[in-house]
Symmetry: C2
Subunit: 299 residues, 2 copies
């Protein structure tokens, strides 16, 4: 089944542990789409400026991502500059230039409104709601967010979350939004907002999936080196939703398996600078590492 992904497409300048990236293709919708398209057809809804390089556009095309909803506007593409220090789990933002992203009003093309799987990346919750209004009853909606919106638009965000099947956040966001220092306690609170599942990504420490009646915990695939953590969370979400959409099975057992796919795809994504590793990743490589992760966690 096909996936609709809404979020940011950006040009990232990053000082990462494994080297530097200068205006490389980035953004939440980019990492998500490149990951999810390993499994299922993906259509992206995002905005770029008239400075967006043709080569970057080709990266989507090569992976068969439907770019009908990738709007090109007069102005500059969203740019993010950041770096990582000792704790590779924490990105330090040096500069954010919103450019045309500041006026992003997502329009879902007619041809994409029936896509059953939907990923709402971390944009303004009101825009996330506006996207949902344009859709014809999606089967499974994943919602991401970030501290910025938790601080500023908690009520709007709660409305989006109530309409989500799964809330996908990192552990710090889960604790902040749930108002609890303990991750599991925070996730329990988040379930009260209405989503069927909460998926908390813990970076190098793995992930937790929670529903009212079960919990699934998974360590990350152990890596000896991380070249660039940028986009790990979005790659995780892409692998997760991509596998779900491909199998079109939203049973609890299959969601757990989808989490393992997410973790596996993310483990590859951070091995290269920017999108470099993700862009050349194959489904076979994912399957092989997923099997190893299964072996490594079985007792």
């Amino acid at each position: 089944m096909s996936i609709l992904a809404v979020g940011s497409v950006a040009l990232d300048t990053v000082k990462a542990p494994g080297g530097s990236v200068d205006e490389g293709l980035g953004g939440s919708a980019t990492y998500f789409s490149l990951a999810a398209s390993l499994f299922a057809p993906v259509a992206v809804v995002a905005v770029v400026g008239d400075d967006f390089p043709e080569e970057a556009f080709q990266i989507f095309v090569e992976r068969g991502v439907d770019c009908a909803g990738l709007e090109r506007r007069a102005g500059r593409t969203f740019r993010w500059c950041g770096r990582y220090e000792d704790d590779v789990n924490v990105a330090i933002t040096e500069k954010t230039e919103l450019g045309v992203f500041d006026e992003f009003r997502p329009v879902v093309p007619e041809s994409c409104r029936d896509h059953p799987y939907v990923a709402l990346g971390n944009i303004d919750p009101l825009l996330q709601l506006a996207v949902l209004e344009q859709l014809n009853g999606p089967k499974f909606v994943a919602v991401d967010t970030m501290n910025y919106w938790i601080d500023r638009q908690r009520d709007d965000l709660a409305e989006v979350i109530a309409r989500a099947d799964v809330l996908v956040v990192n552990d710090a966001e889960a604790k902040m939004l749930g108002g609890e220092a303990n991750l599991l306690a925070a996730m329990t609170r988040l379930l009260e907002l209405g989503p069927r599942y909460v998926l908390a990504k813990k970076g190098e420490h793995g992930a937790v999936l929670m529903a009212r009646d079960f919990e699934f915990v998974l360590p990350a695939f152990p890596l000896r080196e991380v070249a660039d953590p940028t986009g790990a969370g979005d790659s995780f979400a892409g692998g997760f939703l991509g596998y779900l959409a491909a199998s079109d099975d939203t049973s609890p057992a299959n969601l757990c398996r989808a989490v393992a796919y997410g973790a596996t795809v993310a483990s590859f994504a951070v091995e290269g600078l920017g999108i470099s590793r993700l862009a050349k990743l194959t489904r076979d490589e994912v399957e092989e590492r997923l099997e190893r992760l299964g072996d490594m966690t079985r007792f």
Copy 2:
């Protein structure tokens, strides 16, 4: 098979998230012994002062721990005062009073020198070596240590580690001793010191077991509340070595299973203040939670 445990027996005063403990029974050998004795016979080698309360002594007796090597000396028992703040993974030491522990020269009773499984808690590496000299060729030796000895006696410590079957450390200690910021890279370095296995405990994030030819990763059992993290690492080591000794099977697959036992016992230990939960824990409770942990991690 039986276990010999060497380490500290202390009186702990702790401000923990779940309340306070005032001079409660603590110390690495205490938590280790109470955990390991759920599985196999344990003999403890440690020292206490003449102020050591009879009730505390009875806690060992009730669990069938052999106290022939628990020396009572004139003077004060080792006391530790600490607290936890926002990060429950980090104990903040307020005061350490070594008392008789300062002159601890472990003597292994004749009756305990053939115990095949040995746990050397985090004491001076020279004392750890002195214990090994007193033993009649143990089958499996687990060595713990801490930042204090890594800083001050790295060479002595390296000698102990070379003679260990498994080095059991927390993630911060592994990185410090291995000289790498990445845990897996640090553990790879630690294997070069000679032990067959390195087991890194990551607190609420689980554990990693590494040998030259395999890795095993396990998340912690998810808890909504942690009353007192004190002794979690020693309880982990006790559950790990206790299960190994009981099954007397040091194959890689059984070591992975032993890690799961360690994680499970530790998850109970932190649910009560001090040793309270651990002291009343039953093997049946461990088995039931271990099975749940298996279900929660399978995909």
